[in-house]
Amino acid sequence: MSTPPSQVARRAQLLEEVPSPVVVIDQSYTIVDHNRAFAELFGEGRGRPCFEVTHRRPQQCPGCPASETFADGQRRVLEETGVDRSGRPVHYLVQLTPLRDASDVVQYVAAVSTDLTATRWLQREYQTLFDKVPCYVTVVNRDLRVVRANERFRETFGAARGEHCYTLFKGRFEPCEDCPVLMTFQDGCGHTSRHVGVAASGAATHYVVSTEPLQRDGGQVSHVIEMALDITQEQRLQEELALANLLRQALVENTPEAIVVVDAERRVVLTNRAAEALLGRRREQLLGRRIPPGLVPARARGVFLGRRDSCVIDDVELSGSRGERIPVRLTGVALRHGGEHVGAAFIARDLRERKRLEKEKLEAERLAAVGQTVAGLAHGIKNILTGLEGGMYVTSTGLAKGDQRRVQQGWEMLERNMGRISSLVKNLLAFSRGEEPRPALIDPGAVVADVVGLYRDSAEQHGVTLEAAVADGIAPAAMDREGLHTCLANLVSNALDACLVAQAGGCSVKVALREEEEALIFEVSDTGCGMDYDVKQRAFTSFFSTKGAGGTGLGLLITRKIVQQHGGSVTFESTPGAGTTFRLRFPRSRLPQLPRGEEANRREGVHRRPRRTAPAKE
């Protein structure tokens, strides 16, 4: 029974087209035929020994499976590693089939190969993935015993195949209550839960477990793969963050300073209890909303808009919820992240209490001054009384003895002490007159010019140089013109006296006016005798005078009273033999309020421009 030629041709074509390499060798291991797929893998091989073509060997391979098939006539399937036409190793599964002749002798062996190279790569990739994936991977059977564990797991929990997963992960002797593996065995679904295990090192290990069922055979889950992601680091960071947040919150909430933080859109993102109290608004009324305009003073806008890094405004007013003005010390800090403006933080210190204390202190000082004044007054009057007593005594002695000289002397004493009483009363009236200053918008420089003009002749007569130094551009201020005049006149008069006592030639007195940090500063300096410690201590004591009968001891007291009524302060420096400088400082923000009409003028800017020349006398 022979095969028809058409069928032979068809079979040959079929062999040629099979996508797997097929080769036929004879008993001398010489390739008698192969298809195209074989040639593509190993190259043309007809007439050459198979070991040379597929393994690049000079002689037959040791343990050659084909020789066994020639011997026993059995089919064989085995894995082989050969060398392809380019010299690269190639893995394939080969099936050896004996081809027999009519007498049943195996004349040829046909080898059909399946290329395994790609599969091998996949296997290796899978193994690498399994071992190196950044989580602990285990395969657990129905007894909850670990049948496979990846490298990462073994490194952390120790290598142990066949042990229970709960022992390996947590050192327990029974399954965990919330075991996700058991749940997966029960319902065949994946589960995820958080756990804390104990690493081989003894350290607590936080991880998130996800389980997946494996090998469904007829609906039965035989194994579960457990993938645990280590979150110990994250857990620690979270704990640190929580602690940092707790600290921040404790600090922010309990600081006595009001804190308001806004984002780049100027919406409030953080505030505290002190801010609620200061601004009279609950935080729900602030958070997430645009910051009310009354809470950002003009001078803080640069920080608010991210144009300036920070600002500190010593005394500024914010608007409370009911429109009330709240004096605060405001610190602003622009917030930047990676060079980008992300918002601003404002810290406000409530100055109301301080202002109240300042006011109380001022009041206490005023009362103390009244007490000192009364004591001093009694002393001053007693001195005058002694003078009068003496005058009467001398007069009566003179009269009794008919001594005209005595009578004259006594009479002069009486007259002199009557004069002292008159002068004292006049000064007392000046001291007590006008409880409140009567402010008007005046040019402070003009008052300096007036006072210097008033004393110029007297200074010249005594050889003292008197000059004024008024800085340019001093804006008008709401002050009591007469009061300021009295203050400067008192200081200039004292300075001239100090020059006369010094009895040295070339003395000078300078009256200066300048503006610093929104405060007017008047300085009267002399190069006269200066004051020693004792005189300095008593400079502002009522009825203390270094001028003998020439002074009432009220000048500096009156000066200080007027300055304080203007919200200002008096300080002085003095060196015996070198001179004295008295300084009057008037912060503009504390000057008295103008009467209503004047205020309107001021708003309209009528007096805004500083006057460079002294105005006509008011």
Partner: protein
């Protein structure tokens, strides 16, 4: 002491920049028969004191420009005035002033008496009489 010394009229000097005070006290002291020198210029006082050689110097310690204290130091260091007693005519402030002065000059003897200002005439005269009596200038 010689009898001529004993019969000599006691001399009292008043040093105070307030004319009213010296006029008043001088008048009263003269009424009591003392020989009186009144000085209102502290700067010229030392020369006049040396010429007068008083038995008692009544000194206002708190004259301007420390003239009172420097005069006290000068008087106490002056050989010609070695026998002069010193009565301080000043308020309470003068005592602390003197205390610091003596601290600075340990060799300085303290004053022989104090009279507060404003001066009470009766108290002043008692103090003056007592000091002069103690020196034997006034006979009992």
């Amino acid at each position: 002491m010689s009898s001529s010394d004993r019969q000599r009229v006691p001399r009292v000097a008043l040093v105070d920049d307030e004319v009213d005070v010296t006029t008043y006290l001088a008048c009263a002291l003269e009424e009591r028969g003392y020989q009186v020198l009144a000085c209102n210029q502290a700067t010229a006082a030392l020369v006049r004191l040396r010429a007068f050689v008083p038995d008692l110097i009544c000194l206002d310690l708190l004259m301007p420009e420390e003239l009172g204290t420097s005069l006290y130091v000068a008087v106490r260091h002056d050989d010609m005035l070695a026998h002069s007693r010193v009565l301080i005519l000043s308020g309470l402030d003068a005592r602390s002033e003197l205390a610091s002065l003596i601290a600075a000059h340990p060799e300085l003897p303290p004053p022989d008496g104090y009279i507060d200002k404003p001066v009470d005439l009766a108290a002043f005269l008692i103090a003056v009489d007592a000091l002069l009596h103690a020196t034997g200038e006034v006979q009992a």
